[in-house]
């Protein structure tokens, strides 16, 4: 093996990688926030009394969960314009990731919803709260506490999925890494640094979620 490690070239482009990481985080943040809204609505659909709502929500989740995200990303960027929906790269990707994450988050939230004892709703009804008030003051707060651990891992895996944006040339971390790889030929260094950035960010996110979990834990 005649290859010697030399990080100098990668350090020179480190700013690019950091910018890429910032964009990755930005994409993830917007997509997951939108995904949480979609997921929450879908989750209530999944546990709804109405068969129609349950079926509709279930169909959405099943389709998304069983389709590769890369196909979805390419589909919305290259095929949707044929239907008259023309979006920029970033918008198209964020939209795709939001819809994609919505399905996974819906499953997470559903699990949390069915873990809230029915007595909680009844107690809310008994003091005269409306169904909406019960949802916002009782069920959603309890559900969120139930799901925090799996919510954390879902968010981390969605953050990693932002790497797929590289496939449509969104200049996020993976795209920048590949560019530096091709331009500098410092192959090993580039990928070590890029992976480390991902791993570090994921660990940071995990630590953040654990802190939130501790913060929100109900004292007993």
């Amino acid at each position: 093996m005649t290859y010697t490690l030399n990080f100098a070239a990668v350090w020179r482009s480190f700013d690019l990688l950091l910018q890429g990481l910032a964009l990755s985080l930005g994409l993830a943040l917007v997509a997951i926030l939108a995904g949480c809204v979609i997921g929450l609505i879908t989750a209530f659909g999944l546990v709804s009394k109405s068969v129609l709502l349950r079926k509709a929500a279930g169909l959405y989740v099943t389709i998304i969960r069983n389709t590769p995200i890369l196909v979805l990303v390419l589909f919305s960027y290259f095929a949707l314009p044929e239907l008259g929906v023309r979006l920029g790269k970033i918008e198209s990707f964020v939209l795709t990731l939001a819809i994609y994450s919505g399905a996974y988050l819906a499953e997470v939230f559903r699990g949390g919803l069915i873990a809230v004892p029915p007595g909680q709703r009844e107690a809310g009804l008994a003091i005269g709260l409306t169904e909406m008030q019960i949802r916002t003051s009782i069920i959603i707060p309890l559900m969120l506490r139930n799901v925090l651990p799996s919510l954390g891992s879902t968010m981390i895996s969605l953050f990693k999925d932002t790497s797929l944006a590289a496939a449509i040339a969104v200049p996020e971390l993976t795209f920048e890494a590949r560019k530096i790889n091709v331009e500098t030929f410092r192959v090993i260094e580039t990928w070590i640094v890029a992976s480390c950035l991902y791993v570090a960010t994921c660990s940071l996110l995990a630590a953040l979620m654990r802190a939130v979990e501790r913060r929100l834990a109900v004292p007993r």
Partner: protein, 255 residues
């Protein structure tokens, strides 16, 4: 004068199983009525119909002359709008077997929730009222504790405070001591007794025969979805008129 509670020919089915087969019952302001009977007799179901936690298919329930849950227009019976039902539910207060305190809220916040969200009270006013009622059930010192930090008896007392703070016309107690360790039963019964002495109108589903005997102005014995017998506790417990009640009392313990 209209009765506080008037139930007429109440019918309730789960699918094809009829659990209430025509219950009639009238209750005056200030009465304390205990409902006894074996499990499956329909006593809890009847209680839950009064605040529409259960739907019912026939008959009417009225509180203060107001029909609960359903309205009949042009011969068609339909469920009232959710908002209206929510308002009607606030006329009654309910304490549950499993307490059902909101685990993510302190004792005070549990009591305040309905005051703020339903009664649209300001937070300060709600807090003052919550503290007053927590004091009444002897738990003012625990107002900032979470349910998980309280014993079962304490949780049930908070739950009673939460219901009573809403100033209901009628309190419903659904086997409130059944989930408690024996040594915690008494503190809860004391709270209910004190409320009875204050003139609160109460419907109490219970297995505690001695308590029912002591606290009630009237006792209703439910049997197979109907009222099997009713009367004042002395006569009921000492001279049961029906075979069924005599049988039931024989298998219950007085302590």
């Amino acid at each position: 004068m209209t009765n506080l509670l008037e139930i007429r020919d109440l019918h309730k089915r789960y699918g094809t199983v009829e659990v209430l087969k025509g219950v009639d019952c009238a209750m005056r302001q200030g009465e304390v009525i205990s409902i006894i009977g074996s499990s499956g007799s329909g006593k809890t179901t009847m209680l839950r119909c009064i605040n529409m936690l259960e739907e019912f298919q026939g008959g009417t329930i009225a509180i203060d002359g107001q029909e609960i849950g359903y309205e009949t227009a042009g011969g068609v019976r339909r469920r009232k709008p959710e908002r209206e039902i929510a308002r009607q539910r606030a006329m009654t207060g309910m304490a549950f077997q499993q307490f059902n305190l909101f685990p993510h809220m302190t004792a005070a916040a549990n009591v305040m929730l309905g005051l703020v969200k339903v009664k649209k009270m300001g937070r300060d006013e709600a807090r003052t009222l919550a503290e007053k009622w927590l004091d009444r059930v002897g738990l003012l010192s625990r107002k900032d504790h979470y349910p998980g930090q309280l014993s079962g008896g304490q949780q049930q007392r908070v739950a009673i405070a939460r219901a009573i703070a809403m100033n209901p016309k009628l309190m419903l107690f659904d086997e409130v001591t059944s989930a408690l360790d024996p040594e915690l039963v008494n503190e809860v019964l004391q709270v209910i007794k004190a409320l009875a002495e204050d003139g609160m109108s109460m419907l109490i589903v219970t297995h505690e025969m001695r308590f029912a005997y002591e606290v009630s102005s009237r006792v209703i014995f439910m049997n197979q979805g109907r009222i099997g017998e009713e009367g004042n506790p002395r006569e009921m417990f000492l001279k049961p008129q029906t075979e069924r009640l005599a049988e039931f009392l024989k298998t219950s313990t007085f302590n």
